[in-house]
Assembly symmetry: C2
Homo-oligomer: 112 residues x 2
DNA sequence: GTAACGTATAACCAGATGGTTGTAGATGAA
DNA sequence: TTCATCTACAACCATCTGGTTATACGTTAC
């Protein structure tokens, strides 16, 4: 089970097109923050902040390589996001099922 | 393929614990905004705003029932969120695969 | 050794977000 | 009809967000 604040950070990080693009471009971990920043019409500092948001959400990791900091997407993190969605869906699917059950067996659904 | 701004709204709506809870509680669409609001330590207006965010993201729909407005989670919307995650994962899985391929057949991986 | 590059961080700003209280209009119940 | 309830929205406020420029510090290249 995934804790609330972590899910907050996760979905918040995903709720920005630039950051989602950064995630895609950081798949194989060969690009530095500067190289990543080259792709956008914003300052290096802005991109650096976006990477920081992704990092705090656990979606990417950085590894030093000389003076560069290589960024790599963490597949496990996206799996965590999916799990959070799954848990959401499961809860509410559960409720719907309970209701269907209630409709199917009305005489037995009185105390819930 | 899901358009960017829609995904923004989707993930932003999901990035708040109160709203995720509202989604769960709105599974079977039997609760009004007021009934939903009873569950939280915040004003009705605040909950009303949260519901509006969910609505703009397409995660819930409201249907009038007398003077009440019943809120119901839209399963298709959560499916859209999942699809967005899938597309993200696919892109980057694709990159990783291409890289693995490059490592496996170094002489054939020059033009990509 | 010095210059260039890459990263990190601070200070600042406009606009969005998440909360509040207050008010007003519809609708249903007495 | 009158009153209570539910919804909607406006105005306000503090904080967060996403951008900027400027500056400082390590590391590499020359």
């Amino acid at each position: 089970m995934v804790v609330d604040e972590e899910v907050d950070r996760l979905f918040h990080a995903l709720a920005d097109a630039t950051r989602r693009d950064l995630l895609r471009r950081s798949a194989d971990g060969e690009l530095s923050v500067s190289r990543l920043a080259d792709g956008y019409a914003m300052s290096f500092a802005a991109v650096h902040k976006h990477v920081a948001v992704l990092e705090r959400a656990g979606l990417v990791t950085k590894t030093r390589h000389g003076r560069e900091q290589l960024v790599r997407t963490d597949p496990a993190a996206v799996a965590r996001a999916r799990q959070a969605l799954d848990e959401l869906e499961a809860t509410w699917r559960g409720r719907v099922d309970r209701m269907s059950d209630l409709l199917a067996h009305p005489t037995r659904g009185e105390n819930r």
